[in-house]
């Protein structure tokens, strides 16, 4: 707020000096204070994350997970097994989650809607990981599931009768 005061008889000296100081150095002081407290106060993008680590670490993790995901897919094609299925069940949703999180950060503005979308995404990813792990353990597994989808073929009419 901008306060405009007229000098009175008493306390004129103190008020005068203080306001002269603020009018001269107010803006730089504000800027310095803001810079000082910035590392402590989380920024808007960090507020919507459940745990805020260093953004550099996050960036590196994104790249490593991308490479690992590709490796896991090659592994699933070459040596399909439960371990590869489980790693796929974690890596693919993780990679997808981080990708969609970036999309949300870029295009969804507003504190409330952004927060809601982030939470929804966490819920979806969590449910996906749980579903896929269960599918691996108690059903055919991701690799076989994709193979089944790929091999969908029109049924021969002779077979049906």
């Amino acid at each position: 707020a901008v306060v405009s005061t007229q000098s009175g008889h008493y306390g004129r000296g103190v008020l005068h000096s203080l306001t002269m100081l603020m009018s001269l150095a107010g803006r730089p002081l504000c800027r310095l204070t803001r810079q000082a407290i910035k590392p402590i106060i989380p920024t808007l993008s960090q507020v919507s994350h459940l745990s805020s680590g260093s953004p550099v670490t996050h960036w590196k993790a994104e790249r490593y997970v991308s490479v690992l995901t590709f490796g896991a897919i090659i592994g699933a094609a070459a040596y399909p097994c439960l371990a590869v299925d489980h790693s796929l069940a974690i890596l693919i949703p993780l990679h997808t989650h981080w990708g969609i999180e970036q999309i949300l950060t870029d295009y969804v503005h507003g504190k409330a809607t952004s927060k809601i979308c982030q939470v929804l995404l966490y819920v979806c990813t969590g449910l996906t990981i749980i579903s896929l792990l269960y599918f691996n353990q108690h059903d055919i597994g991701i690799t076989q599931g994709i193979k089944d989808l790929w091999n969908i073929k029109q049924r021969d009419p002779a077979e049906l009768h």
């Binding site: 707020a1 901008v2 306060v3 405009s4 005061t5 007229q6 000098s7 005068h16 203080l18 306001t19 002269m20 603020m22 009018s23 001269l24 150095a25 107010g26 803006r27 730089p28 504000c30 803001r34 808007l44 790249r63 991308s66 490479v67 590709f70 693919i92 949703p93 997808t96 990708g99 969609i100 999309i103 503005h109 507003g110 504190k111 979806c124 449910l127 996906t128 579903s131 896929l132 269960y134 599918f135 059903d139 055919i140 599931g145 089944d148 989808l149 790929w150 969908i152 073929k153 029109q154 049924r155």
Partner: protein, 177 residues
């Protein structure tokens, strides 16, 4: 309040003082303003800044509607769209696996309504191409992150190679598998 950030005392008669006097009313010598504002509305990028700008209701210059789509921007947005599309497919696949009917039920359902070989070939190409493109372009992104191929001519050439490789890989995989 004045529109000029004149923070320093102005020498009477100086050019700046004349300019300031011409543009805005000088405060009386015994009327002092205290800038104790900590509001963020002047700081670009903050939520308050966006809110204030929205309230001002200013028209925005056209951007997406007038800027010509180039290979660089086209491939970039395609990388994002294919990634998001496959994300949706992933969440849908996970949903199918935990339905009470079971995953095999949906496979059988698809097989009863599956079209012939030609259409299946086309469908597989359409479904696989975005994945191949996203993978190959993903490696292009990783090369950038390592600092390689950042010059604009390299960006264009690697971009064209990306599209070519994705198409070849897709056709090869659909034909072979």
């Amino acid at each position: 309040s004045s529109g000029i950030n004149a923070e320093w005392p102005l020498r009477p008669g100086s050019n700046m003082a004349l300019l300031r006097g011409a543009i805005c009313r000088l405060p009386k010598h015994n009327t002092i303003r205290v800038f104790s504002s900590t509001s963020e509305y002047k700081v670009p990028g903050t939520a308050e800044f966006f809110e204030k700008q929205k309230n001002l209701g200013r028209p925005m210059s056209p951007h997406l509607t007038i800027y010509k789509l180039q290979l660089t921007s086209g491939l970039s947005i395609s990388h994002r769209i294919t990634g998001a599309g496959y994300g949706a497919l992933l969440y849908g696949f996970a949903l199918l696996t935990v339905t009470p009917q079971g995953f095999s039920h949906w496979i059988n359902l698809a097989e009863t309504y599956a079209p012939g070989n030609g259409l299946m070939f086309a469908a597989k190409t359409i479904v696989l191409f975005p994945l191949m493109y996203h993978t190959v372009n993903g490696f292009r992104h990783l090369f950038w992150d390592l600092g390689k191929n950042l010059k604009i001519d390299q960006v264009y050439s690697t971009g064209k190679i990306t599209v070519a490789i994705s198409l070849l890989l897709t056709l090869a995989m659909v034909a072979a598998l």
